[in-house]
Each structure stands twice: as C-alpha cells, then as structure tokens.
C-alpha cells in the first residue's frame, strides 16, 4: 500500500502524539497507517521479529524427530505441528512488514546474529519424550505469553496472535497426550517422560524473560499496551496451571530455583545448540535458493509476477 508523507510541523507532531496516546488509553488498536512514535514502531519490530524468528527456529528441535516418530499417527501429528510453526513465522513476518520492515531484512538480521529468537530453542531434543515435553511445556508457556498478546495495541500483531493461539492448543494437547502415553507405559518409558520434563521445565520458565526488576523493555511495553502482564506474573500463572497437569500425567515437576546465569549464557550464544540452530537456518535458506530462483524464472516466463 502507498504510504502518506506526513508533515513534521511541531504542533502537528504533538497533536498526533495526543491522538496516539488517546487511542492507546481507550484500548483502541493502532493500525499500520496511523501515526505512531518511532520508539513504539521500533519496539514492535524488535518484538515481532524475535517472535517470528522463534517460530521458524523452533521447527528444528522437533523436526529432528519426524523421521523417528514411533507411529504413522505420531508422525503425521508432528509434521502438522512443525508446518504450523512455519505458518506462525509467516503470519508474524507479514505483520512486521506492515511497520515498513521487509521480511528479507529481518531474515538477514537473524542469519547475521543481529536479532534474537527465544532462548528455549537452543536446547537439544535428546529423546522422543522431548517432543511431548516441548508440546506440553514450551507451547504451554508460549500460550500463556501469547493469549494476552491477542489484545496487543498494534492491530496486525494482535490479529496474527489470534490466529496463532487458535492453532497452539492442538500443539499443547498433542504433547500432553504423548507424555501421558509414555508415563503410563513401561517403567523405561515413564522414566524417559520424567527425564524430559526435568530437563525442559527450567528452560520453559525462562521463556517468560528475566525477573521484572531486570526486564528493560517491560514498563514501556506495558504503558503502550503491547504487553499486558509482567514477566513474573505470567511465569507465576504458568507454574500454577502446570502443577495439576503434571499430577494428572503421573509426573513430577522439579523443585528449586531458576538458574539465571544459565539463561544469560544461552542468550549470549553459549547454549548447547546456538551455533547448530543458526547454521542450519542459514544452510536451509541457501539450499532453498534454487527453488526461489526457479519460481521467479517461471513467473517471468509466463509474464506474471506483476506488479512490481
């Protein structure tokens, strides 16, 4: 869509800021062509890019098990879930594009290590039970984070989140069902399920971000109604709902404290799989180049690819 060049008159600017503040205060949505503060736009691009990157990097740990799924049923489910995550990435990249940043630019930044994705995807999937633990805990934590984002002040982001949240509940339930089957299986299967939960619990809690007093972006994001609840508030909610769910699984949740030093190390790039994830992402992008080139050649030959 064409964009309108705005005047930069100072009174204009103040009036626009006031209109923006009033819309946010009234719980109205900000839409792509509305005036918005530069910092609001930048903050949204940062958060949405990180979110989109997480969706597509998150395909890797689970895709690792597609060829080894124990039944055709489980394999079909896992393929559908991984495909959904690709879709989530695309919804979010196109929502981010409404802010004037191209998908290409965001992917370049991901590949260059200049934008982040969720720390959770830097952990390895060691056993089949990890696929269950990811669905239950990682998708579960994501849902807890994302449901309030459906009311985010930026319209395109909120709409993408509505679509994503609808799809996430299948992700969580298939993981829970998978763990339940293992938990009720042989002693070895039960132990495998418990081990997966023991390993994924802490990284899942870290998905909510640093404690409130250390969370740099939080206060401003909440004032802008991008975020609706603090990190610790969401984390507490997730812990509360997980306890009874673990009981019903016949599994236990670890006790203790979150190791924030580990979190910082993973963010710095020193997690178990950081390098592997980004190397695989780059390789997939490079190896897909011929497909993109072929599509362009086909479009050119058939005189389409309009408009541009």
């Amino acid at each position: 869509m064409a964009t309108v060049a705005y005047g930069t008159d100072r009174t204009d600017e103040a009036a626009r800021q006031a209109a923006f503040d009033a819309a946010v205060a009234a719980d109205e949505r900000i839409e792509p062509r509305d005036w918005m503060p530069d910092a609001y736009r930048a903050s949204l691009v940062r958060q949405m890019a990180q979110h989109a990157h997480s969706e597509i990097i998150g395909m890797q740990p689970e895709a690792n098990w597609i060829t080894r799924a124990p039944s055709l049923r489980r394999k079909a489910i896992l393929m559908a879930k991984v495909q959904d995550e690709a879709g989530h990435g695309l919804y979010l990249y196109s929502a981010a594009e409404t802010l004037g940043t191209s998908r290409e630019e965001l992917l370049d930044k991901l590949h260059a290590g200049r934008q982040r994705y969720s720390s959770i995807f830097n952990y390895p999937t060691l056993t089949w039970a990890d696929v269950g633990a990811i669905g239950w805990l990682v998708d579960g934590a994501a849902i807890t984070n994302q449901v309030p984002l459906c009311r985010c002040s930026y319209g395109p982001y909120a709409r993408a989140m509505v679509r994503i949240c609808k799809e996430e509940s299948f992700h969580q339930r298939q993981g829970y069902e998978l763990l339940l089957a293992l938990s009720r299986g042989t002693p070895a299967q039960h132990a495998m399920a418990q081990d997966a939960v023991d390993r994924w619990w802490w990284p899942s809690l870290m998905m909510f971000g640093p404690p409130d007093e250390e969370s740099g972006h939080s206060a401003q994001s909440m004032a802008w109604k991008i975020k609706r609840h603090s990190n610790d508030e969401l984390r507490r909610r997730f812990i509360e709902i997980s306890g009874p769910q673990a009981d019903a699984l016949g599994l236990t949740l670890p006790t203790g404290e979150i190791d924030w030093d580990e979190f910082k190390e993973v963010l710095k790039g020193n997690g178990p799989c950081n390098e592997q994830r980004i190397a695989q992402r780059r390789r997939a992008h490079e190896e897909g180049a011929w497909v993109r080139d072929a599509a362009v050649a086909y479009a050119a030959k058939h005189g389409e690819g309009k408009p541009s």
Binding site: A2, D34, G87, A299, G305
Partner: protein, 95 residues
C-alpha cells in the same frame, strides 16, 4: 524481480458458501498462481475456506487515516438514515 523481492499479495478467504471473502492476511509470492497455492497452505490448513482471492497489495488504494474525520464526517449528521430516527405510535405492528 529477484528471488528476494517477490511482490506482496493480500489474501481474502470465503469461509463458507453464502459469506463474503474476508481479509485473512498477506504473503509474498512470485506470481498470482503461487500466491494462491501459498495462501491455501498458509491460511486454510484447517479447512478455513472454500474460496480464496489474492490481490497485489500495490493495487489497494486506501483512505488516509489523517483525513478520517473529514472523510467520514458527511454521514455523521444524517441520523434520519437510520430506522431508529422515526417515532411510531405504540402498538403499530410490522413496521
């Protein structure tokens, strides 16, 4: 056009026969045919649609949010366009 600047398409999905197409989102594709196929995979993985339109995003002309007050104002002072504007005696039926 190179492989990195595929045009953007707006996707509209008719969820059921009898309903109109509704904007679902957007996507990049090299041509209309690929845009349709990608739209099917992206927006109708759970049978959300029975028909899809794809429209080049550049073909959309939008009203300006800056002029929204003056642009939509003419309708504001015409309450007589609504049935609730008229007073009808109590008891009159089918009106």
């Amino acid at each position: 056009m190179t492989a990195t600047d595929w045009p953007l398409w707006e996707v509209f999905v008719r969820s059921r026969r009898g309903l109109s197409h509704t904007h679902a989102g957007s996507l990049h594709a090299p041509d209309a045919e690929m845009a349709l196929r990608n739209a099917r995979d992206l927006y109708t993985r759970r049978s959300e649609g029975v028909s899809i339109w794809v429209v080049p995003s550049t073909a959309v002309t939008a009203s300006s949010p800056d002029e929204k007050d003056s642009f939509f104002e003419p309708a504001g002072d015409k309450p007589y366009r609504h049935p609730t504007f008229y007073e009808i005696p109590e008891g009159v039926q089918h009106l």
